[in-house]
Amino acid sequence: MTNDISSAAAAAPAPVNGTTAASQTSSFTVKAGLAQMLKGGVIMDVTDAAQARIAEDAGACAVMALERVPADIRAEGGVARMSDPGKIKEIQEAVTIPVMAKARIGHFVECQILEALGVDYIDESEVLTPADDAYHVEKAGFSVPFVCGCRNLPEALRRIAEGAAMIRTKGEAGTGDVVEAVKHMRTVNSDIARAKAALQEGGDLAIRALAREFGVDAALLKQTAELGRLPVVNFAAGGVATPADAALMMQLGCDGVFVGSGIFKSGDAAKRAKAIVRATTHYRDAKVLAECSEGLGEAMVGISVSSMKPEQKLAGRGW
């Protein structure tokens, strides 16, 4: 999209969600391409310049600029919104790696603001309080790429249809419990297996029937079935707290990991951050995993998801 409303309004069709549909194949290549360059890496939640530098020095491939980490959002309650632009700028100035930031589900004006700030990726995130209970942001018209959460393949493909260039599991943010991220990744994998089987056994007809059941675009579903994976990069997120958690998600087929509260809510943040980066690269090498799991000090205390009431879970936000 362009930030120059006057020039856009002249020729473009009626704006959707405040954006103009000016997307091209090349722009999607560039958007999805950055996500491809983040693969095998760790994206860390940070709340200030000092944390951002610790993350960069530990080998993070990007940082997520936030006002509060999910564990604090959960503890403090209230409405969680986009960060103060001043905080985001401070973090952008502190590091040379990509800086991502979160916007509320459906809040396309927060997205316009984040794009104007020059963030490298926007996370339209269920961790913040949703701003629209019917629509996610129409993402294709923005120049800045988007990452969105999912619990299953239908959610992922609906976000991609809206223009998301990267997907992550929702998991259950701010808990330090990896169980939900595992469940979401396994669900995506088994949904993809179903799509593959449908294509093999019933061809286009079966894909169309499954697309109706999933509530997704049939062409995207067919593409997924042919590829045998999501058509964009897929990271793990929500509850990753240890090097072993990161390697578990990688072995389940994720392309990389987001670590939210897990690092800066632990005893020795710098050491844990480095260990999680190393575990994500060497995720199949159990000897290296043993080495980098040793002597990390206190992990984040966390909350067991099984003890939570449904209304306390963030993953149910979005659809």
């Binding site: 391409g33 095998g40 890496g41 491939c61 800045v144 190393r278 994500t280």
Partner: protein
Amino acid sequence: MVTVGVLALQGGFSEHLSSLRKAADYFTESQSPIFTTRTSFRFIEVRTPEQLASCDALVIPGGESTTLSLVAAQSGLIEPLREFVKVSKKPTWGTCAGLILLSEEASATKRGGQELIGGLDVKVHRNHFGRQIESFVTDLELPFLSQSPNSETNETNTATPFPAVFIRAPVVDQLLTDNVEPTHGELNGASLSKAVLESKPKAAREKVEVLAILAGRHASNKKAAPGGAPPGALEGAGDIVALRQGNVFGMSFHPELTDDIRIHVWWLHQVTKALA
């Protein structure tokens, strides 16, 4: 059997592996007279010094260069990589972050700098065009592809410009040697400024050969670089986006993100020539 490794610490390594496999298939199917003997390739992911030691040639992919440096150091790979590139002089190709790692110097690095492998006597400018919103795809003329075996079988291959994908890309903004291939001072009508070519003699190594220049992006350079354009990039001058020095080949953009395998085919051909 030629073993080609792709450094798989972080970034776009699987895309390179897939393009290399396609390029190798192209070789097998091609009846090009250049190949009197059939070369067979093996492609592997490299995460350890042992895996690196088994390689005849290496690709360093795009990713975050700071992450790649740190993970390479953690994995005990920095010295073996320097040995591979600068002592054994085995063919090595870096794209984007890989170009940064293969440069002797880098600017706009993170606080405290970052460890480089080196091999190319140049200084690169990281994130030259700015943030992600300044990333772009553009058609680039690549005259060096005319040395490729593609041209033997299909003339139109080299006439078509290459769809070059630049993502938070670096460019070479200074050559650190005066040992430059003279015929490449001008490419595609874009000329390099005198300041870029300004000599800074170093221990004589192989000649630096500029292979591609991107013209007409100067306005965004100015915007991206704090305090104006980086030293060496004068008004109207093009940016060096592909070059080689001996067996070390570097480029700013990402051929592995396209379906166009011409550069991978060209490079595998260079590898077979170097190993012959």
